[in-house]
């Protein structure tokens, strides 16, 4: 192994360790996380056609071909502050515990030749954490819920040739789930400490792929097409029922498996440079969330609902709808080393009313991002804030918990990166415009 590769690997390994020690938590737009870096967050994640940082390979892996530096490493930390409130039909409101969640990311890009780039991304792709207060009225639905994932995504991109670049990647996603809720088992016998709580935790691996295509016909415009495949977040783990003694035989602790289908994602974007130091991108995303039909927990032994009825599957029908997202992102370098970013997006609700519950209430979402970037020599530092507003979802149809769900999230992202001039043929501060040579 020569020095450059060893340097890359060492950097990535160190970054992963940092991820581990930071105890990753996340909050999501439905399950999907797009806040991969401060550059992304500041532009409301509109980076399909263009990304200056290695993190943009998340949006479109062919972006790698347009990063001119030999080797760039980037780590990002995203902090989520979700604020969720449920108001029951009697107008009694409950607000979920507000605790910041952190999501770390690591990205590398390496361009050994002019026509090929490789990248490696490690990021939380899907996730949600919900913490409702103790003894809240919906604790029988959920008390604590956490879905976390971490995707390792190597990519390779070829180009640009005549302005075109094409890429492909492989996704290996490790995910974990943990859930706590309370069973509605009625009265607790005197002296029994079984509180009816239920805990389950599991984890597993899932695999998918991604691809990208970019085309820059002129120096003022570039278009991108990104794709991430559907796969199933697969969890296997154990369930622990802490119930009172008369119920114990009906609720044996046991293993379970659970699969959550995540969608195909197709994004298309076009970025324009009306001025040399200003770029504006319009993106549209399509998500095939209809693949997520049910959240079924398959139990190894099952639970006895009644002597004549053993429930082997804890099913929560989801029947999600396909969804879309559209948005605009922009970046303006008002100083040689400092830029400002702004973005806004709207995404459609994919969750039918019947499936809305406190585990993951969803709705139409509006995201507004703002950020700043700073570069100096090989160093990049970015900071961004995003306000995620989910339009209040008033559920009146029969469902797990009808009522009004209000959700807001504050997202703060910080990224730092550095590009190494391994081969000594790249400028440290490349302009944001690709060269005519590359286009032609």
């Amino acid at each position: 192994m020569n020095k450059p590769y060893g340097q890359i690997l060492l950097t990535f390994a160190m970054a992963c360790t940092l991820l581990i020690l930071s105890a990753t938590n996340a909050h999501a737009v439905f399950l999907l996380l797009q806040e991969v870096s401060a550059e992304s967050v500041g532009q409301a994640n509109m980076l399909t056609a263009y990304g200056q940082r290695p993190s943009s390979q998340y949006h479109n892996s062919s972006n790698l071909s347009f990063i001119d530096e030999d080797f760039t490493a980037e780590i990002a930390f995203t902090m989520y502050i979700p604020i969720a409130t449920y108001t029951n039909p009697s107008n009694v409101s409950t607000t979920a515990d507000v605790e910041p969640e952190y999501a770390p990311h690591v990205y590398l890009s390496f361009k050994p030749t002019e026509w090929m780039a490789i990248g490696l991304a490690a990021f939380p792709n899907y996730g949600i954490i919900t913490r409702w207060p103790d003894n809240w009225e919906g604790e029988y639905v959920v008390k604590r819920n956490s879905v976390k994932s971490f995707t390792v995504n190597p990519n390779i991109s070829f180009g640009p040739f005549k302005g075109f670049a094409i890429s492909a990647g492989f996704d290996a996603t490790w995910s974990a789930i943990s859930t706590t809720r309370v069973f509605t088992l009625g009265m607790v016998p005197d002296g029994d400490d079984g509180d009816g709580s239920f805990k389950m935790a599991g984890q597993g691996w899932a695999f998918g792929g991604n691809a990208g295509l970019s085309y820059q016909p002129a120096d003022w415009v570039r278009m991108g097409l990104g794709y991430r495949s559907k796969f199933k977040l697969a969890f296997e783990g154990s369930m622990d029922f802490d119930v009172s003694e008369p119920w114990e035989w009906r609720f044996p602790d046991q293993d379970f498996d659970l699969g959550i289908n995540v969608p195909h994602q197709v994004s298309f974007g076009a970025r324009f440079w009306p001025m040399e130091n200003l770029s504006v991108e319009i993106d549209a995303w399509y998500f095939s969330w209809s693949v997520h039909e049910s959240r079924d927990i398959n139990m190894e032994e099952g639970v006895y609902e009644a002597p004549d009825k053993t429930r082997m599957v804890d099913a929560a029908p989801q029947n999600l709808k396909d969804g879309f997202l559209i948005g605009v992102g922009s970046e303006y370098w008002f100083h040689e080393n400092v830029c400002a970013r702004l973005g806004i997006s709207y995404s459609s609700n994919v969750q039918p009313d019947e499936a809305v519950d406190p585990v993951q209430p969803d709705g139409h979402r509006i995201n507004i991002g703002v950020g700043f970037g700073y570069k100096w020599k090989g160093l990049n530092v970015d900071l961004a804030y995003l306000l995620g507003y989910i339009v209040p979802h008033d559920v009146s149809v029969p469902s797990a918990m009808p009522g009004e769900y209000e959700n807001l999230k504050h997202v703060l992202s910080f990224s730092i990166g550095y590009h190494f001039d391994i081969f000594g043929h790249n400028d440290a501060a490349k302009t944001v415009i690709v060269s005519e040579e590359a286009i032609n």
Partner: protein, 738 residues
């Protein structure tokens, strides 16, 4: 691509990552549970396993206990529990368990709301005992039950237990001599009809019967029975009060709870805990607040049952205050007694005593004779007989009319003739009485059928219904075959046990009863059910006929039916004397004026020998028998001819020498058997034939009131039937000659 150290770092890192993300889950060892080993108050009220007969079986019951489940659609009563004439009554949720795979399925009644055996086929493996499809008789009886707004007043509440109980560990709450105080009691029995003023029922008023079935496996049944009112000669457990609501609460958990025979405290069954919760399972908006059950309609049912349970537990809590905690309760349920007035058709105590059990005057029933041979019996009536029957509660008098009360004459060719009648009704001492007055005299020695239907309304507007015995007699299906009853509803052995225990030792061998209670009570039950089955068979043609008329559509619509036969029961009753066996009738100059010795020979199924009563009569005859103008009067004495003289009512003697005379208030003071001594007043009816001036023979019925049968026990009535022979005292007549 990566070297070994790099890959190791990544994997190790991800492993650490996973450690930070999971919650604390520890799999405990699976709990082995077995109802045969764990002392549990088995409580599966809504899973068609143990039909614990409580209001939980009747979530639609809203009269006594109001339930309010938001969003729940108004309950639709299935056809089988809708009373006639659109009178809606509560539907007891006595689910029909049918075997749709059975070849006999086609013979089962059409039922829309049922549970199939296939639905619950794995119950056996989980609960450990067999479950069978309901018999046709059970289905029929459930239909009948579902026409009431509660349980029969005589119904038997059971508490199923998984282990045999130490009866001494039960500590009833109350203020009686045998009761415990609120801190120590573990059994609470209350009348909660008035929610604000619950009445604690002392253990002085009830008792427990445990496992009268002598079961070899669970569930063992702890049965609560009201004490009989022996002082007033009621040996059957007293019925529950019509329309009242009763609550039973068992507490345990700690060492003060009820225990099994090995000293282990009984605990609650998990379904009970579910129903004992205080948090509603349905939100105000109608959505489910339960994650144990997935179907909303099932959650709604559970919520109804929870509210019914909570209703009783709140009353219990108001009673015990802060001295006891709700979480100590291991079982609690309430049951409501039907307020529906029932036809009074059969006296269960008379059944125990093996007399003609039918209550309506003149009704033809069955009885066992001395050799346990079944015979039809009836009280002979006159041709001017006015049939009547009673209902257990007050009725709306205006609803009793010729549209729902009928009198039919059974003709010799098998047809029936509608007899012109008028119907009158009155409420006397809380009892509805209906009298049928035929327009014309009845034909003698002919069967008549009295029938009424349940559209006779109670005073408060609900329908009336048959009592359980009339329901059995109406049944299309045999109630007993091969000495085994065809429905578990008929297993009244606890009541028989209580009754037999209450009888004096002179009438029942207590040693045998205590040694073999199951065998003895089973024998009695089989005997009783056999008797009712015979009545059922006798009445089937009449029921079938009624179903062919426009009078009723279904058996369930029949409120009461019975037959009687004016002026004698030709094919029934005591065998009449055959004059040819003894005497030649010579009535030409027959004159009974003079002194006669009477010897009456009686028999009774309860008595182990014939009873012979010797009496002396002074008769005076006026007129000539052949002229149909003869009238007999006189006085009857005890055998000594001096004491207890009672005047005979004047009796006409027809031209064939037949007469019927009665004397009321004759003091019977005699040994009825080796063990039974009677000292009471009797009304004696003698139906006889005059043979000549010296001999009269005939049949006699002695109805004795308040018979002191020893040991302080008083029978309200003892009816002895027999024959008599009256012979002139020859010496006083100046020489015997015939």
């Amino acid at each position: 691509m990566f070297n070994r150290s790099g890959v190791s770092l990544i994997i190790t890192g991800l492993m650490f990552f996973s450690l930070f993300t999971g919650c604390d889950v520890t799999k405990d060892a699976t709990v082995e549970f077995d109802y045969t080993r764990e002392p549990v108050v088995v409580f599966n009220p809504d899973w068609t396993i143990l039909p614990l007969p409580t209001n939980l079986m009747n979530p639609g019951f809203v009269r006594a206990i109001e339930v309010d489940v938001p969003g729940m659609p108004e309950r639709e009563f299935p056809d089988y529990c809708v009373a006639p004439e659109d009178q809606q009554v509560s539907c007891m949720d006595l689910r029909m368990v049918v075997d749709t795979e059975s070849t006999e399925a086609s013979s089962q009644p059409e039922i829309e709301d049922y549970v199939t055996i296939a639905d619950i086929q794995n119950i056996t493996s989980v609960m450990g005992y067999d479950l069978e499809a309901d018999s046709n008789l059970t289905l029929y009886l459930k239909n009948s039950l579902n026409r009431l707004d509660g349980y029969y007043p005589g119904f038997i509440p059971d508490i199923p237990l998984s282990r045999k109980i130490d009866l001494a560990s039960i500590k009833p709450f109350g203020e009686g001599e045998n009761d415990f105080n609120v801190e120590n009691a573990n059994f609470f029995f209350m009348d909660i009809t008035d929610k604000e003023n619950p009445q604690v029922i002392s253990f002085d008023e009830y008792q427990f019967v445990f496992d009268v079935e002598s079961r070899e496996s669970f569930p063992y049944r702890l049965t609560l029975r009201n004490n009989p009112d022996v002082a007033n000669n009621h040996f059957m457990p007293m019925p529950f009060k019509a329309g009242n609501v009763y609550q039973i609460v068992l507490t345990g958990v700690n060492g003060n709870g009820i225990k099994d025979t090995e000293g282990v405290t009984f605990s609650a069954d998990s379904p009970f805990l579910l129903l004992a919760g205080e948090t509603p399972y349905v939100a105000p908006d109608g959505s489910s607040r339960n994650n144990l059950f997935t179907d909303l309609d099932y959650v709604q049912e559970i919520e109804e049952a929870r509210q019914v349970t909570d209703y009783g537990l709140q009353i219990w809590q108001s009673l015990v205050g802060d001295k006891r905690k709700r979480s100590e309760v291991i079982a609690a349920f309430n049951f409501s007694i039907a307020s529906t007035p029932e036809s009074v058709f059969m006296d269960p105590q008379e059944v125990i005593m093996t007399q003609n059990p039918l209550v309506p005057e003149g009704a033809i029933g069955k009885k066992y004779d001395k050799e346990n041979v079944l015979k039809n019996t009836c009280v002979k009536t006159g041709v001017d007989f006015t049939p009547m029957f009673s209902l257990s509660g007050e009725i709306d008098l205006s609803t009793a009319n010729t549209q729902n009360v009928k009198l039919y004459q059974k003709l010799e060719d098998g047809n029936y003739k509608d007899v012109a009648i008028s119907v009158s009704a009155e409420n006397v001492n809380g009892v509805g009485q209906i009298t049928i007055t035929p327009k014309d005299d009845l034909d003698s020695s002919t069967h008549y059928l009295v029938a009424a239907k349940s559209s006779i309304k109670a005073k408060k507007g609900t329908v009336t219904n048959s009592d359980v015995y009339c329901a059995l007699v109406k049944s299309k299906y045999p109630i007993i075959e091969n000495k085994m009853w065809n429905s578990p509803f008929l297993d009244s052995r606890p009541d028989i046990l209580v009754s037999l225990e209450g009888l004096p030792d002179t009438l029942i061998d207590k040693d045998e009863l205590h040694a073999n209670p199951t065998e003895v009570t089973t024998t009695h039950l089989v005997s009783i059910l056999s008797l009712i089955e015979e009545i059922r068979k006798d009445y089937q043609p009449d029921v079938e006929y009624l179903l062919t008329t426009d009078f009723v559509d279904r058996r369930e619509d029949i409120l009461i039916l019975y037959t009687f036969s004016p002026a004698g029961c030709p094919e029934d009753g005591p065998e009449p004397i055959n004059p040819d066996e003894y005497d030649t009738i010579n009535l030409v100059d027959a004159d009974l004026t003079g002194d006669f010795d009477l010897e009456a020979t009686f028999s009774h199924a309860l008595l182990d020998s014939e009873i012979i009563m010797n009496m002396f009569g002074e008769f005076v005859q006026t007129g000539v028998i052949l002229d149909e103008s003869a009238v007999l009067s006189g006085t009857l004495y005890e055998a000594d001819g001096k004491t207890n003289g009672v005047k005979l009512d004047d009796a006409s003697i027809d031209k064939d020498g037949n007469f019927e005379l009665t004397l009321k208030g004759f003091n019977v003071s005699a040994d009825l058997s080796d063990q039974l001594y009677a000292d009471t007043l009797a009304d004696i009816t003698m139906t006889g034939v005059v043979y000549n001036s010296f001999r009269v023979r005939g049949n006699v019925v002695a109805k004795m009131k308040d018979v002191d049968i020893g040991d302080g026990f008083i029978l309200p009535e003892l009816v002895l039937e027999g024959v008599f022979v009256a012979t002139r005292r020859v010496a006083e007549k100046g020489g015997a000659h015939e």
